[in-house]
Symmetry: D2
Subunit: 351 residues, 4 copies
Amino acid sequence: MAGSTFGERLKVTTFGESHGTAVGVIVDGVTPGVELDESYLQVQMDRRKPGQSSVTTPRKEEDKVTVLSGLYEGRTTGTPLCLLIGNRDSRPSAYNDIQEAFRPGHADYSYMAKYGLRDHRGGGRSSGRETAARVAAGAVARKLLEARGVSITAYTVEAAGIRCVRFVESAIEANPVRACDPEAAIRMAERIEAIAAQGDSCGGVVECRIRGAAPGLGEPVFDKLDAELAKAMLSIGAVKGIEFGEGFAAAGMLGSEHNDPMNAQGFLSNHSGGILGGISTGEEILFRVAVKPTSSISVPQPTVGTDGQERVIQTRGRHDPCICPRIVPVVEAMACLVLEDHYKRQAALRA
Amino acid sequence: MAGSTFGERLKVTTFGESHGTAVGVIVDGVTPGVELDESYLQVQMDRRKPGQSSVTTPRKEEDKVTVLSGLYEGRTTGTPLCLLIGNRDSRPSAYNDIQEAFRPGHADYSYMAKYGLRDHRGGGRSSGRETAARVAAGAVARKLLEARGVSITAYTVEAAGIRCVRFVESAIEANPVRACDPEAAIRMAERIEAIAAQGDSCGGVVECRIRGAAPGLGEPVFDKLDAELAKAMLSIGAVKGIEFGEGFAAAGMLGSEHNDPMNAQGFLSNHSGGILGGISTGEEILFRVAVKPTSSISVPQPTVGTDGQERVIQTRGRHDPCICPRIVPVVEAMACLVLEDHYKRQAALRA
Amino acid sequence: MAGSTFGERLKVTTFGESHGTAVGVIVDGVTPGVELDESYLQVQMDRRKPGQSSVTTPRKEEDKVTVLSGLYEGRTTGTPLCLLIGNRDSRPSAYNDIQEAFRPGHADYSYMAKYGLRDHRGGGRSSGRETAARVAAGAVARKLLEARGVSITAYTVEAAGIRCVRFVESAIEANPVRACDPEAAIRMAERIEAIAAQGDSCGGVVECRIRGAAPGLGEPVFDKLDAELAKAMLSIGAVKGIEFGEGFAAAGMLGSEHNDPMNAQGFLSNHSGGILGGISTGEEILFRVAVKPTSSISVPQPTVGTDGQERVIQTRGRHDPCICPRIVPVVEAMACLVLEDHYKRQAALRA
Amino acid sequence: MAGSTFGERLKVTTFGESHGTAVGVIVDGVTPGVELDESYLQVQMDRRKPGQSSVTTPRKEEDKVTVLSGLYEGRTTGTPLCLLIGNRDSRPSAYNDIQEAFRPGHADYSYMAKYGLRDHRGGGRSSGRETAARVAAGAVARKLLEARGVSITAYTVEAAGIRCVRFVESAIEANPVRACDPEAAIRMAERIEAIAAQGDSCGGVVECRIRGAAPGLGEPVFDKLDAELAKAMLSIGAVKGIEFGEGFAAAGMLGSEHNDPMNAQGFLSNHSGGILGGISTGEEILFRVAVKPTSSISVPQPTVGTDGQERVIQTRGRHDPCICPRIVPVVEAMACLVLEDHYKRQAALRA
C-alpha cells in the first residue's frame, strides 16, 4: 500500500498497529516558529483515549504522546514533527481464540485478500488504534488554525436510535456520549449500556461545525473542500457516509428552496453547508457522518476460518458498544488537517 | 489552484471552461497495447450530453470527442491520451444580464473570494461542462476494467421526491430519468416537467453498483477505497453526500444486524456495501449519492452584485430541471477512474 | 506511465508525440489575475523552434502556441491553462526505412522494452518535440517570476570541443550557437557545420544563471532546490549530467577553498552556486548541464531490428548537428518551472 | 516544508535532527510477506556509522536501528515500517561557541532565511545525520531488489585529488576510503589524514553501478530514471553534481562515438550508462556524483553572526575530513529506493 500519507502542504504520515510497540505520525510542512508543547497535544489525546466512561471500552491506554522531532525551545522549527504514542495495554492472548477466523464486520477478510497474510492481533493496521496518531497530528493543525480564528467542533447527534432535538454546545463535553442535547444524552447512555449488556453494539451520527473558515478554501475541480473532507471522513474506519448542509434531504427539495439567497449582509440561509462549487463561502461549514455499529460484539456470529471451515465466533475483547463519543475527536482532527492544508494551498495559489 | 489532477497511477488532468474554446483531459498511465477508438468513448459522451430528453436542458452540444495523442494504429501506446471536446453552443449573451450578480447556489461568490476575479460566463471552470472531460477519461478506464471483468452501473433511485421501489436494470437506459424502476420513472418525468414549467428545479439520489471488482482493492489507511470513491463523488458539483451499503441507516442498526456473517460460500449479506476496513471484499460495491436541485432556476431570487448592491436575479439560461439522468454517466466515469487506479496500485504493492 | 506531470503547486502536464496531431501542456496552479497573451509565450517558442540557423535542423515547424483555457479578458483566471502547439511538418515517410530497426542512441529499444510496442515515427513521445510544450509552460512561469524580480538565462559554454573563455551576455542571442563568447561562437559554428557535413553530430555544455531568487527556496530534505533542478534538467532527453557551482571541480578542492566566507555585506564568493543545504542563499544560482551529441546521424551504424536481425542503419531525417542552441530555452523553461513552484511552496510553508 | 517524503509507490518519509532524540523513517508500500529482520538493516547502518576509521569522524554513534511497525513474525505485513535510530553521542556544548554564527559551507544562513529561526545544534535537520534514516530505508528496498536479481554497488573513484586507475570490486570494503583501487586507496588515506591534521577537509567522486536492472524502468517524460536518480543523489547534502555514462565527457564526443551500436547479442558499448530516453536498457546503470569537501573544518574562517556582526569562526566539532567513504552507503540506499519504486511503477503501468 502507500496510503498512509494525507495532505499536500501539511502532510501527515501515520504508522503502527494496534498491538505493536507504538503508533505514531510524522507531520511535515508545519509553519515554523509556532509555540507548541506536548501538553497541548495531550488534551486531544485524552478525549480519544479508551476507558473514559461506561459507554466506552474499559480497555486502558494512557495514550501519552511524545514529540521526537521538529520542536526546539518550545517552538516548531518547520522540520517534520514525529509524534509517538506507545501501546500499553495489548493483550494478544484475548485474540488467540479468533486467530484463525474472519471476524464479521472487520477488515480481516479484505486485508487477507489484499496482503495475502494477516496480523490478527486486534486488526493490526486496520484497528481504530491508528486514529490516535491522527488525533495527535490534528492537534498540531488545530494549533495553526487557532491563529487563523478557525474553530472546529464535532458532537454526537444520534446514537442507539435516539436523536438530539436541540444544540447545547456547553453540554457536549459534559456527557459521556458527547451529544449536543443533554436530555437525549442521558437516554442515549442508558440505551447504549443496555445494548452493551447484551454483548451487542450500536451506531450513530456525528455532526461537525467549522466556524471562522475564510471564504475561498478548496481547489477546483477534484480537490474541492467537500471532496477532501469526504475523503478524510470516510478514511475513518467506522464511517459509512457523509453529507454536507442539507445533504440527502436536498434530494427532496426544490432549487428555490435549496439555493441560499444573499443580501448586502451576506447569505440569508446555509443549506449548502458553507461550501459552493467546492469552495468555502465563509459561512459555517456543516457536515454529518454516519457511524456504523462497532463490529466487535460478543454475540455469537457464523463465519469461516482461514482454513475455509465454517465456525461460530464470539469476540471476547473489551470493545466500545458505541464508538461515537471517541470518533468525535477523530472527526475534528481530520477536519483540522484538511482545513489547514487548504489554507496553505490557497496561500501558494495567491503567492 | 492545482486540483485539476486526479488519481495516482491512472492520472487524469482536466482543463477548460464552460464557454471557452473547448474542455479536455489528459489521461496518463494507461496500459499500453489496448485497443481503443473514439467511437468507444463517444458512446459515453452521448449519455452525458445535453438535449437528450424533455427532462434535460434543451441546450445543444455535440460533445464530439477527439483523441489528440496516445493512440497509434488503434492501440494505446502507454503515453498520455489527450481527449478534446469542443464547445459548440456557447451563448455568452444569455449570461450578460447576470454578469455582475452572484447567482444563488452557484460558485460565483466563492470563486470570486478564491481568485479575486471572475469568469461569469456560465460558471467558467465551476460549470458542469467540465464533467464532459471526466466522462471521456472514465470511458478509457472503463475499457481497461472490462478486461478485468468489472462492470459499473449507476441509475436514479429518487428524483423530485419520488422513489424507485424495484430494480429493473434493463429499464435504466430506456427512460429519460435513468431510473431503475420503470413505473416510478414515468411519474418522475411528469413531476420534473411540471417543476420545470414553473422555472424551478429538483434533486434526487443516484445509486451505483460495481460488480466483479477483485477483493483487496483500496489502500489503508487514508486511501481507503470508500474514501477515494467519496472524494471522487463529492468532486461532482451537484453532489452533497454519499453513503455506502446501509449508509446512514447503519446509524440505527445493532452490530449483530449490520455485521455481514460468512459461510464457506462467502458473505451471507452485504450491509457493508462490499468494502470492509476500506478494502474491497469481492462483493458488489454499492453506494448512493445525494444530488441537490439544479442551482440555475428562473424563479426570481434575492442576491447581491459584485458591487455589493442588493438585487433580484432571474437566470434565463437553458438548464436541467433535474441533473440526475446526466450525472449518472459522470458517477460511473469517476467510479471507473477510482477502480482502475486502485487495480494499478494493488499491482504495484504486490509486485 | 504516469510521469507526464511535473511540479507540486505549479503543476504542468504535457502530452503529444513528435508526429501526432499536436503537442501541448496543462499548467495548473497559475496565480490568478496575471496579464498574459499568446505573443508573450510565442517569443520563447520561437527561440526553441527548428530551422533557425545553419547549425540547427532545417526542419520547419511554425510552433504557433494557442491558449485553449485559463485566460479571460487578457488575464489568468487561476484555472488550468491548456497550451496547444500543432505539428506541421511531419514526414513519417522519412522514417519508414527505420521502422523496424532500433536507432543507436535513441529510446527505441528501451521504449519497446517498457511498453511492449512502439511508435517508430521520430521517437513518438521520446522525441525532443515534447519540449515545445515545456517551453510554453515555462514562459508562463517566467511571467510570474518577472514580477518577483527573478531572471533566468542559459547559454552554451562548450560545443564541438570548443569552450567559451569569456561571458558577454549581449552576445548570447546574437550568435546561432547561443554561446556567451562571440569569438568562440564563430569557431563553434564552423566546427558544427563541418561535423554536420560529415553526417555526424556533436555535444556541448549549457550553463544557466538564475538571478534575483530570494533566499530560502527549496525544501529539506528530498526536495532540495538543487535536487529539483537536477531532476528537471535530467528530464531533458539529451542531458547526461549536471553540476552546481564548482561542481565536479569541488572534488579536488579543500574545505578551506570551497566554503564561501561571509562579511557584513554578504557572501565573499559563490563556490556553492547559490545553494547551501539545498536552500537558496540569495546569491546567483549557477549550474551547468552536459549535452550529449545528437543521436540522429546519417553515418551508417550497426544495429538490430525488432525481428532481432542485425542490420546497418542510416537515419535520413533532418536533424540538429548540435542541440545546444535549442536546448538553451528548454533549460530556462524547466528552471522557471522549478523556481516558481518553490516560491509557491515557500508561501505555503510560511502561511 | 513538505519535502521529507520521497518515492511514489515505495514511499519513504524521514524525520529527526542531528541532536534531537532520534532520527527515523517510515517506509510505506513495502511488498507484504518478505522476510526481514533488524540485523539485515544493521549491516547497512554499520557501513554508514561514524567512527569506522582514521579517515572518518571519531564521533561515536551506535546507530542501532529498531523496527517499530510493519513487521509481524519476521515478515513484512505491507503496512508502513517505522525504523528508529536513537541519537547517542550529542554534545550541544561543542556547538555553543558557534551558536550565533553562520558556518561557511553550511545551511545555517539559508535555513535561517527559509524558516526565520534556527536549530544551531550541528545543523539540525540539514545535518548528514538524517541520512542514517535513508540508509535504513534503503536496506528495505535492497532486500526487495535482491529478489529481483538487482545489485547496487557504490565506491570512491577520486578523493583528495587522487584518482583510481583500476576497478577491484573486492577491494572496496577492504579499505577505509571505500575506493575501487587498492593502491590509490592507500595514498588517498594518507593524503586525507594529512589534510585532517591541518584541520581542513577534501572532496571526491563516488561512482555507482546498478547491475541486473530490467529494461523498461523509468517513466517518460519527467520521471525518467536518470532524472529520478539525479534528484535522489542531489538530495544528499554534500553532492554537487551527477553524470551518467560518459557524462560531461559526452560534450566533447561525436554522435558516431557516443551512440551505442547493437548486434544480435545486445549493445556493443555502454556510453549511455544503461539509460536511453530516460528508460533503462538492461545494461549496467552507471553514474558518478561529485562530493564537495566537508564544510566543517577547524581552519579559521571569516563569517557573520545572526546579529550581522563580522567574526572569525573555527568549528571545533569532530568531523569527517572526507565524507566519501560514508556517502557510499547513502548513494546505494537512494539508488535502491529509486529502483524499487520504479519496479513498482512499471508493474502498475503494465497491470
